[in-house]
């Protein structure tokens, strides 16, 4: 049905929301010799239409200009992303024509909670696209004006904190704050960002923790932000409460937490890189060009995602981040699994 009226869904995705002009999408440029001579398939372990989808469309919409090929995303949500990873590692050929676009923060914590069927050394993240720091937020109607109000109340009674799930950097952030200040927090996993916002707005939760992107999008009239888990509050007034910008946890409490962020990045099988170092290099070179392209900024802003969160990181940066989040995850493992280990 779609065929007759407009470019189809998947070819549309290839074109990228970014390019937005809903013109027909050019077909793969199979003419150029060497890599790539066909479409690149991207495995996404989350739902179609979700944050990763938007993010990926914006990115590949520009990347295809430089790599001269189209991207075919396919979505494998399920079991908190595990299905996507297992499918990618289990079924995708290791030829650099198959990539995975995942969220390093929550997904590394997945492996802390339960090891996957493949070895974690068999793949690595090589290009981080964005960094979305975790934020502590309340409903606009909440009595809490600042994080200090929250801590003071949390010392008197246990506060219920909505989160998308326990194994998430945001959950770890509030637990770390509780550990540091002595305030008591009871994490309530509400499966997903939308439900978490609903839980906070309808007043069932005292507060919530989520990545900044979904909180800032709602606007301060709906949600006020009290604390950011990053090196600094890059979004300023978009993450604020009563005109006071949310401070960072490390500044405010003197803690030494690593940035607790969701970070979307491309990953690839190690075997593919070993077998085709030239292809790997071609991808890395072209990725760098995307970040400098004004079209990419336009595409990101069109998705309403904050441009400040777009921060490239290479394979080394990804490795450092993955290690730091795994380390802090191990520390809070009993709280994420409910088992005393």
């Amino acid at each position: 049905m779609t065929k007759f009226w407009a470019p189809s869904r998947r070819s549309f995705v290839k074109g990228g929301l970014a390019a937005a002009g809903l013109s027909a999408v050019p077909f793969s440029s199979a003419l150029s010799a060497g890599f790539p001579d066909r479409n690149i398939k991207v495995y996404v372990p989350t739902r179609e239409g979700g944050g990763a989808d938007r993010n990926l469309r914006a990115f590949t919409g520009v990347w295809k200009k430089y790599l001269k090929t189209n991207f075919e995303p396919s979505f494998y949500p399920g079991a908190a992303g595990r299905v996507g990873y297992e499918t990618y590692m289990g079924k995708a050929p290791a030829d650099c024509y198959n990539l995975l676009f995942g969220n390093m923060g929550p997904e590394m914590l997945n492996w802390v909670v339960k090891k996957p069927s493949f070895s974690l050394d068999d793949y690595f993240y090589f290009a981080r696209v964005d960094v979305d720091p975790s934020v502590v937020f309340v409903s606009a109607k909440s009595p809490f004006r600042s994080i200090d109000d929250v801590i003071a109340e949390g010392k008197k009674r246990t506060l219920n904190v909505g989160t998308s799930r326990l194994a998430h950097p945001a959950s770890i952030g509030i637990l770390a704050v509780g550990e540091h200040t002595g305030a008591k927090f009871n994490l309530i996993p509400l499966s997903g960002g939308k439900n978490t916002i609903a839980g906070v707005v309808t007043g069932e939760m005292d507060l919530g923790v989520l990545p900044s992107g979904s909180v800032s999008k709602k606007g301060v009239k709906v949600l006020r932000s009290l604390l950011v888990f990053d090196e600094k509050n890059r979004l300023g007034a978009r993450l604020s409460s009563f005109d006071v910008n949310a401070p960072t946890a490390n500044d405010h409490f003197g803690t030494k937490l690593p940035p607790l962020v969701s970070a979307r990045a491309f990953a690839i099988q190690k075997r593919a890189v070993d077998a085709h170092p030239d292809r790997y290099k071609a991808m890395n070179d072209t990725i760098l060009k995307v970040f400098g392209d004004p079209d990419y900024k336009k595409a990101v802003l069109k998705t309403k995602a904050p441009w400040e969160n777009i921060r490239y990181g290479d394979a080394a940066a990804c490795k450092t981040y993955a290690e730091s989040i795994t380390a802090i995850g191990e520390r809070f493992k009993p709280l994420m699994t409910g088992k005393k280990s």
């Binding site: 049905m1 779609t2 009226w5 407009a6 470019p7 189809s8 869904r9 549309f12 929301l17 809903l22 179609e48 239409g49 399920g78 079991a79 908190a80 595990r82 299905v83 297992e86 909670v113 246990t158 219920n160 799930r165 326990l166 194994a167 009871n186 309530i188 996993p189 509400l190 499966s191 939308k194 439900n195 916002i197 609903a198 707005v201 309808t202 007043g203 069932e204 999008k217 709602k218 606007g219 009239k221 709906v222 309403k304 994420m336 699994t337 409910g338 088992k339």
Partner: protein
Amino acid sequence: MEFDWDIFAPLFAHTLTFWWVIIPAIFLGLVVGAIPGFSAANTIIILLPLTLAMDVEVGLIFMVALYCSSRMGAGIPAILVNIPGTAGAAATPLDGYPMTRAGKGQQALAISFVSSTAGGLLTTIVALLAMPWLAQVAFYLHSVEMIVVMLFGISLIATIAARDTLKGLIAGFLGLMIGAIGADAVYATPRATFGFLELYDGVPLIPALVGLFAVSEAFLVIEGETILSGKGQDLMRKAGWAETMEGVRAALSRWWHIVWTSLIGLVIGVVPGAGASIAAFVAYQQSRTFSKTPELYGTGHIEGLVAPESANNGVTSGTLIPLLVIGIPGGATAAIMLVVLQYHGVTVGPELFIENPELAYGVFTAMAVTYALMILTILPLSRYMSRVTMVSTTYMAPLIIAFTLVGSFVPREYLFDMYLAFAFGVLGYIARKTGYHTAAILIGVILGPLLEQYFLRAMKMSQGDLTVLFSSSLANILWVLLILSVGFPYALEYRRKRLKERE
């Protein structure tokens, strides 16, 4: 946010001029609603390129029309071939299908169309008038209250079990147990997944529905020439326009029934996360409780068809209220609409009524117009649709198997789900052959995980204190109502017996 007639009246006329979008959307919605596996939500996702390319107003009207009509479409196969097109229509075959078998498929369709339309129109108007107040429901129905609402639906298992209590309860509790497969809602510990990653998120609804109802049905109907009873075939052959009118009259004469069951749907729809299936089950259960002839339910009773169909259309209006008023979608389709609105730079929430009042009210006028156009287009078709039941089972059974198995693949696109539907088909076949009610199993599979999720949330919030279940006055009122509604039929029965004895 108060209702303003000056905005509404011209808006209605204006929306009517979009008939060229609405009518194709209605037909598309009826088709996707009728195929298990497709729903308004995933159709809108599939058609995103189209929807995004449209002007925001046209796109919104298109989505709303598709949403309303898919709800109605889901009832058609539920009535005619015992296969609910979506989980929201899972209570429809309880009385709709027995009517079809008796050769009254055309009347049943007409009843379903009229109650859907009337329920949908009424709740649209109520939603429009009472939007600010209705949005408050989400602020009061928290997990504790939702536990009781779920129990209203689950108590339907006991109702269904009335004929053979032990078998009915075993079926229902087996359903609950199957529904509990998958990661728990707090610590995500996988349970009884047989090692399949595909079951981590629980048993997917569509394969369960397809297996229990459709596949098992196909293996059963081959016992007869058509799905109709002998008498039913005679009736069908003679049927003309009069039967449609008979259905319309039957539904309209139960206008009060439509009113209150659709309002149940509206209120449940407002709560984020609750959906059409729970509303339909609750409405059916309530309808039976307050009926003078509860023993007729399940045999092709008109009220048993009116209740779930008006209720699930009431949900449609309900899910849009929190989306528009507080910016939180009440269901999956509303969530996709949010994506489209955001893409067009429209902020939903309280600001919407100040910045874009025509858009905010436009959603509901679009619903009203859709229902008005829909009943005009679909009612005449019921005569022809019901002819499906005359098709020989030689062709019907393979068709049902192939297309519903395909449907079970569609939502998640896993081949695994086709095998799962097959397994549920075998379970459904055995259950039906040996007198276990598949609807009781399905209620468990659908409502069990929701109940557990709300229960665990309440328990985690209270840190294991069971008294939290009675901690709010609204919840306590609901508990009392629940006990009354479960006990009421028994009390009535007791009184009847006593009266008889005295005579």
